[in-house]
Symmetry: C2
Subunit: 415 residues, 2 copies
């Protein structure tokens, strides 16, 4: 095998989706050497188990890690049980309450269970920070801290902004990048993967390795995945797609992303080649309905995390519910004793939490009776006119109830 | 015994020489309670054995500690083997090279040997930081660091100034006040003593004790002692009086302090009462030669560190050398083969390191031949006129050489 050629091939694959690669030439050289010597690269990725809520956005670097695995390299997962107890200051404006080690361990178990849907568990080296930090003496901690200057850490956007705005920065928080950097020394990382928000911390690892006279890791930074509303995907924005969500619901959420978001999902979640991305765009340009592409995309993504069979069932379910204008197969039934206005139906059936929510939704035009959009809160379904199977009332595309009338049931009863 | 009255009496003694007492009312209350309960106050003083060069300026807080001991309180000496390895950032513009634990231990042994000339060794509790820091886990270190904010530590003059001037502040240096503060929690200090430059660190101890719901220590801050040139005493300024210096040399250096400095030496080194200080000033005002008072002061101070007998011998030696215009008993002899100018004599005799230094000193009027001040660098001692024992040439008051002429020696030779 021509090592140069093979390294070039690998680099093309690995660069897919990456926003920054620091520096490209070093990674190419590392790949070449790895191919020549048969020694896999050690590719580090840190997990901060501050919670066990994993969503599609979190998965982007893990997908990249899996790609390294598939190319024969060594995945090194660092469970940040110490950094999690500090809480990564990246992108937030206040200290987090410190987690107990107990909470961290519980979160870590739940978290890794989810990422092993993508990362090959058998071929991953899993290391806990406690392995080297549990017995780190204070003298070593101080030596480690002394490798960084205050000015260097205050160059970190988050620290500086908070300091300048008078928002408290606990001195312990300065240790977040320091510990993450030391991890790279300990595990001898060749590459560290992370989101763009990890750039500062990953570069700190390069500094520390250089100080130690070690070979220096490359930084591969992945962009943030947009959420359902186009902002970055985040649980706190409520625009996320959790990995543990029911596949049918994942499918439905994926179908609700904007057409423009298909490209980043393709590139970042599926690691499609630029050619494939261009081919998809060409299909739309030539007049094909974007929904067809979105159906394919959603099926592939759900399949990636839940398997092909579930993905197919989810797609069928979705098409039955929305695309073919059919109601989903199992709709709860609400039986009316007599004629009720729409607000009362929505509230009493449990479709809304309150009458005021019901009124608001009707006002917004989100409520349908059969195919008809209801805009009058006083609207009543004509019980006599209703067929015996009742009328399907829905809010938006995903909240349904089948309204049947007690009198209609009676009328049907055999005499 | 009336506790209130006795506490008041103690406070008057303890306030002597102190520049700041934070807060006075709290110390009074602590003293009262101590007298009532018979439980001595725990008075903390940290030693940073970054070197074993102890001078009179360092001794000021130890003199105060001895006073607490004499009043029945408990001296608690903290050997800062961890803080010494950081190096106190106070009053310096750069990081210090870190000391090894070995060096720190050696320095500590030399240092304590000197302070026990003042502090009562039998009644002092000596604690090494390593006792609690050697096994401090990283998780605790982080918790401790988190008790302080970055803004709080950057309020520390030295850190802020260096940060703003772009001079490197190592992140480990932030731990200096944190560790010193934690020491106060560990030993349960009621009072912490220190120089004015320790104010920030000692107040940090109050913060941490408050956080911990403990009774809070008082801060007693001693002023800095002026050195021989009036600037603060410091080895690096070369204006210091080391404790281990030969008593006769200590005596001579003390005699060279300015008349204005007698008052702070009296107040800070001897802890004289304000009445005694006023009485001394009155003697000068009434026409007494300040040199007599300086002789008394020097004898008392040398006696404090070296004992009364040595102090008296030193005084007698000094008076023989300078005061009675006699040359000291042992003067090195420099034999001239022929007539030399003054610069050549100074250089060849080794009294100056170079001819240019010799020229400078003559120009400054610091050079004497016998009783005559020499201002002409070309000046030659008349060999014929010189008596057989030669001429004493001196620079200032303490550098001497006896110049004899080979011809004079020959002339004396018995024929």
């Amino acid at each position: 095998m021509d090592a140069k050629k093979e390294a070039g091939r690998q680099l093309v694959l690995l660069e897919r989706g990456a926003e920054e690669l620091i520096p490209r030439g070093e990674l190419l050289a590392k790949l070449e050497r790895s191919i020549e010597t048969g020694v896999p690269l050690r590719v580090k990725l840190g997990i901060d188990p501050t919670s066990n809520a994993v969503h599609l956005g979190h998965m982007v670097p893990y997908g990249k890690l899996r790609q390294f695995q598939d190319l024969g390299h060594q995945a090194v997962l660092i469970i940040g049980d110490y950094t999690a107890s500090i809480g990564d200051p990246t992108g937030r404006n206040a200290e987090r309450p410190a987690l107990t080690m107990e909470q961290v361990r519980e979160n870590a178990a739940g978290y890794t269970e989810q990422i092993f849907r993508i990362v090959d568990r058998e071929k991953a080296e899993v290391r806990w920070q406690s392995e080297w930090y549990e017995s780190l003496p204070l003298s070593e901690t101080l030596r480690l801290a002394g490798a960084f200057s205050l000015a260097q850490l205050l160059a970190h956007e988050t620290f500086r902004a908070r300091y300048e705005q008078g928002v408290r920065v606990g001195v312990h928080e300065l240790f977040y990048p320091v510990l993450q950097a030391w991890d790279s020394v300990v595990v001898g990382a060749d590459v560290e993967l992370g989101g763009m928000d990890q750039k500062f911390n990953i570069l700190a690892g390069r500094d520390l390795q250089r100080d130690r006279g070690m070979e220096i890791q490359c930084a591969m930074l992945m962009p943030l995945l947009p959420g359902l509303d186009g902002r970055k995907m985040s649980k706190s924005f409520g625009n996320d797609i959790p990995i543990l969500l029911d596949p049918a619901e994942q499918f439905a959420r994926l179908m609700s992303i904007s057409d423009e978001c298909m490209e980043p999902y393709r590139r970042l979640v599926l690691l499609d080649s630029p050619e494939d991305c261009r081919a998809a765009a060409a299909r739309v340009a030539s007049g094909e309905n974007p929904m067809r592409l979105k159906l394919e995309l959603a099926e592939r993504i759900v399949g990636r995390f839940g398997g092909a069979a579930r993905a197919q069932r989810s797609r069928e379910e979705w098409e039955r519910r929305f695309s073919r204008k059919e109601a989903p197969s199992e709709i709860p039934v609400f039986t009316c004793a007599g004629s009720l206005d729409m607000c009362a139906i929505l509230k009493q059936s449990g479709l809304t939490a309150s009458a005021s929510e019901a009124r608001r939704l009707v006002g917004e035009g989100a409520v349908y009776a059969g195919e008809e959009r209801i805009t009058d809160t006083g609207y009543r379904i004509d019980a006599a006119a209703a067929e015996s199977e009742g009328v399907v009332v829905r809010i938006g595309r995903r909240r349904f109830v089948r309204v049947v009338f007690a009198s209609a049931i009676e009328a049907e009863r055999p005499e």
